[in-house]
């Protein structure tokens, strides 16, 4: 991943910053300029909740080069407590133990490593909520 993209996306990748439309209340993640529901252009900053439920997932067994050490792993969509849905890797869990409907928590993890020399990319992953 290019350093410029990491820098550009750090607010939502690092601290789950989203935008809440000041007219209709739609929460958009990542942040947008125009509300997809009402076309309004003003948003207030909100931070997404860190817990939710896993809605669906897919297991990756043949991974892209930067993820081969982690295969097999799951990519899932979870619905957070405020209804926002987001896509992330499901970490800290054997792929056979993943279940639709399981409670998940968001943790800050290293998302990908651009070879031995490149920049490190950080962001959010789901982990099973066990406490």
């Amino acid at each position: 991943m290019f350093p410029s993209r990491i820098w550009r996306e750090s607010k939502h990748r690092y601290r789950l910053e989203a935008g809440k439309c000041t007219k209709c209340g739609k929460v958009v993640f990542p942040y947008r300029l125009i509300c997809p529901v009402c076309g309004h252009r003003e948003f207030e900053k909100v931070i997404l909740p860190e817990t939710g439920k896993l809605l669906t997932y897919s297991i990756i067994r043949v991974a892209p080069s930067q993820f081969t050490d982690q295969a097999p792993y799951a990519i899932g969509i979870a619905e957070l407590e405020n209804g926002v849905r987001l896509l992330a890797q499901v970490a800290d869990c054997e792929v056979d133990d993943i279940k639709v409907g399981m409670d998940v928590r968001i943790e800050f993890r290293r998302v990908q490593t651009d070879s031995h020399h490149g920049v490190l990319s950080y962001g959010y992953k789901f982990v099973p909520k066990w406490y």
């Binding site: 750090s10 690092y14 601290r15 050490d69 982690q70 970490a91 800290d92 943790e107 800050f108 993890r109 290293r110 998302v111 070879s115 031995h116 490190l120 950080y122 992953k125 066990w130 406490y131």
Partner: protein
Amino acid sequence: MVGIVGYGAHLPRHRIKVEEIAKTWGADAPSYKKGLMLKEKSVPPPDTDTITLSVEATKNALRRAGKLDPADIGAVYIGSESHPYAVKPSGTVVAEAIGAVPDIHCADYEFACKAGSEAMFVCLGLVKSGYIKYGLAIGADTSQGAPSDALEYSAAAGAAAFIMGGENVIAEALHTYSYMTDTPDFWRREYEFYPQHGGRFTGEPAYFKHTLGAARGIMERAGATAKDITYAVFHQPNGKFPLRAGKTLGFSKEQIEPGLLSPTLGNTYSGASPIGLTSILDVAKPGDTIMMVSYGSGAGSDAFIWKVTERINEVRDSAVRTRKLLDENLTYIDYGTYAKFRHKIRKNE
């Protein structure tokens, strides 16, 4: 009153047992378990490093700090000997992740295993002098131990974060004291992957001289004996050294065990005594006093005496307790998985 206004720890869930490492290298597991008092250690998976552990520990510290606005944090210092980058700070990522940028001072610290307590010391000083309102001090490591070396049985991963401030203090810093000499007991040269150490030289003239020197120095300044202090936590490279240091100073097992995590956690280097302190704060009562003494090879120790306030009862359960992270939801891995996680196997890129 200046002291800790929020604290938190984070540990990876993966563990490897001493028997599994010993089996690989043909070593005698019972002698390691008895000699070093180690049963198992934490292992960071490939997506976990000093930065990610620091962010999660800091989030727990913020939960216990109540309504503190991260933008009011004026300094972030991370002590570690496993910063993910050789050149590029770890603290910038942590500050960005908690929303403490851009009005903040940042530095990464190194002093072998006492880099975390250095960060605590400097944050306390900056808050006390009025330069900053709050300071974030972190001790975190994903420690390296060469394959088959004695260090491989202990080198572990974990982080502790402390927010220092002057309002809503959980534990007041009553005294601080540092003790340091030039003692080359453990080192890692540039471009080397694993550290080297002086074997038994790491004991008496290194760990014990500095740990006991700092402990005696701060107890003398406080006019306190072991009986006047409720709990003590020392740097814990294994299970044996901190118990022996405590016994030498007159502390009982009951005063040391709440903060002694190394038998099942391993040595979390810069995180070791700071994580032990979080475990003590999890059980301490208002009015209790805690002595913390770190040790970093090279060599030196930082000592603190903390006095727990009434606020501990309000905030303690705002975040997960350290013993819970240590004892529950664990995944045991074999040596092959461990070698993969710790990048001990050379691959083509």
